[in-house]
């Protein structure tokens, strides 16, 4: 076994790189407690917890929060159904056009969001579809399919085919095999996929700005606050909420699929 140790320079560069990835987010937390509401002065001149109460009482935050939760929930369910179906088809069989289909699935997140957004916007313009919750969901579900698909297909490939043959030999029909053999084995991978899809949808802003019209999801609300700040620490409080709502599912997804070759989150 090759057992050399990393040089000090490499260790410092690697650990420094990891810190670089994490420290900026901690600042968000710090600034939620500052007493200074008009600038981003560092260090904060004083600390207070009043902004959490102020944010709670701001009436303009709640409707975007509800809308974001609703969009993320519906998109996740749609992506769960569609992603699992396509994973079931792609996991074992070889057929004509398979490569093209796998390209089609990843295209919505492989191409820049501005293209997905602008494409949907063009389609709505041509077909004269008015903006609604459903125009947002249409976009979100499309790029969430690949997240569920990735998780499901990796787990299906790992499952031994003999398992399903054994189930059939023991007299189970296709639906019983799905219910009693496939689903229990697939469950945690699907749950992980759902959580990642939820986190992705809840946080999405680039495609959403093209498909939302005048509606405001929580990320769009935050974007407006970033461009025209009002009470800056309130934006920080909302940022913490957005961070928590995406962070917890991601962590859960990691623990659900840890140890396998297909640990969730490898590709966004």
């Amino acid at each position: 076994m090759h057992s050399e140790r990393a040089s000090l320079g490499l260790q410092i560069a690697a650990i420094g790189g990891l810190l670089f990835l994490h420290l900026p987010i901690l600042l968000i937390f710090l600034y939620a407690f500052t007493v200074e509401e008009r600038t981003y002065q560092f260090p904060p001149p004083g600390l207070t917890t009043e902004w959490f109460a102020v944010a709670w009482n701001r009436a303009d935050i709640w409707p975007p929060l509800y809308l974001s939760l609703k969009v993320a929930a519906v998109s996740t369910v749609l992506a769960l159904v569609l992603g699992t179906l396509v994973a079931g088809a792609m996991a074992r069989s070889r057929f004509f056009g398979r490569e093209q289909i796998s390209l089609l699935i990843i295209l919505p997140i492989a191409l820049p969001g501005v293209i997905t957004g602008m494409s949907l916007r063009s389609a709505f313009a041509i077909m004269e579809i008015p903006f609604s919750v459903w125009t947002i969901i249409l976009g979100h579900a499309t790029f969430c399919i690949v997240i569920v698909y990735n998780n499901a297909v990796a787990r299906m490939r790992r499952l031994s085919g003999g398992l399903m043959e054994a189930s059939a030999d023991l007299g189970a029909n296709a639906f019983q095999t799905f219910r009693y053999v496939l689903l229990p084995n697939l469950g945690s991978a699907l749950l992980a996929g759902c959580m990642l899809a939820f986190a992705l949808s809840f946080d999405e802003v680039i495609v959403t700005t093209f498909t939302a019209g005048q509606q405001s999801t929580l990320p769009i609300w935050m974007l407006n606050e970033l461009v025209r700040p009002r009470q800056r620490p309130v934006t920080n409080v909302v940022a913490i909420v957005v961070f928590a709502v995406t962070f917890v599912p991601i962590l859960l997804a990691y623990y659900l699929t840890r140890g396998g070759s297909e640990t969730a989150g490898g590709g966004k």
Binding site: H2, A14, I28, L82, I105, I126
Partner: protein, 310 residues
């Protein structure tokens, strides 16, 4: 099998059918997602292409639904070419920045991290990758503001003149870091860095240790082994990562809007043209530019074997 056992109902009869005709099951599974992706996504992409061949009536501002290349010709106006070239330069420099910063992290995680450290590195890269994009951008607005932490740190360590000298560089400098190209570049590098680390790490992990040993046995120093064995084998991973950093930078319009100068990037042009300006054909034509560039980029990457590293 339905021939052997007595059928117990619809479920069994369908199972028998699927057994005799596996393609029927495949078709049933794949049609709903295909119809969705085909209609919603490919349909929209087609709509984008169609719109980009329309033009806008200069006097009434109404979209004229007739085939014309005039909208594409508008892309070659000096002002629009500026936007495209600026975006390409930014994408290229962000990609280089990400590659340089990502390499030590990926290299360490792939070759030296074991056990708990390995998990820590994996989570340490994956959590920033997935955590909220807007929150990350917002964090940098706090950091780069004139009165923010970098200005404070420069003042505390007496390096304010250096910061001011950097900001005085024409082209990339500005009034403060949060209103300069340098600031835009830093935020881009930060936000897309995890997308570079993961494929890089994956390809580094696939470099067989036996090859490194063989190289050492043949008398190569660590530096020579690194340059002639590790780097060439890791290159597909770097290219795979560059696909993400390049494409994501090219299509982003939030970061330059929040941090940077008033000079526009492709994404901003698309957003403003379809929104306030109401010029959907030109916005669509602008959106086709990144698609074409990425197609060329992907073709080159495929030649370099980057897809095996994905």
């Amino acid at each position: 099998m339905s021939a052997v056992l007595a059928s117990r109902g619809l479920g069994d009869r369908l199972t028998g059918l699927f057994w005799r005709r596996p393609n029927l099951l495949l078709l049933l599974l794949i049609s709903p997602p295909l119809i969705w992706l085909g209609l919603v996504y490919l349909g929209s992409l087609a709509a984008l292409l169609v719109q980009s061949f329309y033009s806008i009536d200069e006097f009434s501002g109404v979209v004229v639904p007739e085939f014309t290349l005039r909208t594409y010709a508008e892309l070659f106006n000096p002002a629009n070419m500026d936007i495209i070239i600026r975006t390409l330069l930014m994408s290229a420099s962000v990609t280089v920045g990400c590659a340089v910063l990502a390499f030590p992290i990926a290299y360490y995680a792939a070759r030296f991290a074991r056990g708990h450290w390995k998990a820590a590195f994996y989570l340490g890269v994956m959590l920033p990758l997935w955590s909220s994009y807007l929150v990350k951008v917002y964090a940098w607005k706090l950091i780069l503001a004139k009165e923010g932490i970098i200005g404070w740190a420069a003042g505390a360590t007496g390096t304010t003149p250096i910061l001011e000298a950097v900001l005085a560089i024409p082209g990339i400098g500005g009034n403060s870091l949060s209103t300069s190209f340098l600031g835009t570049w830093m935020v881009f590098v930060y936000v897309w860095l995890p997308y570079m680390i993961l494929p890089m790490q994956a390809s580094l992990e696939r470099v067989p240790v036996s090859m490194l040993e063989a190289s050492a046995d043949l008398g190569a120093t660590r530096g020579q082994t690194f340059r002639t064995v590790t780097l060439p084998l890791a290159l597909p991973g770097v290219i795979a990562g560059s696909i993400f950093t390049f494409s994501l930078t090219m299509g982003d319009y939030i970061i330059p809007q929040i941090i940077g100068t008033s000079a526009r990037f492709i994404g901003q042009a698309v957003f403003q043209l379809q929104g306030t300006a109401g010029n959907i054909p030109l916005a669509a034509a602008f959106a086709v530019v990144p698609i074409l560039i990425m197609l060329v980029y992907l073709a080159l990457a495929r030649r370099a074997g980057a897809f095996d590293a994905l």
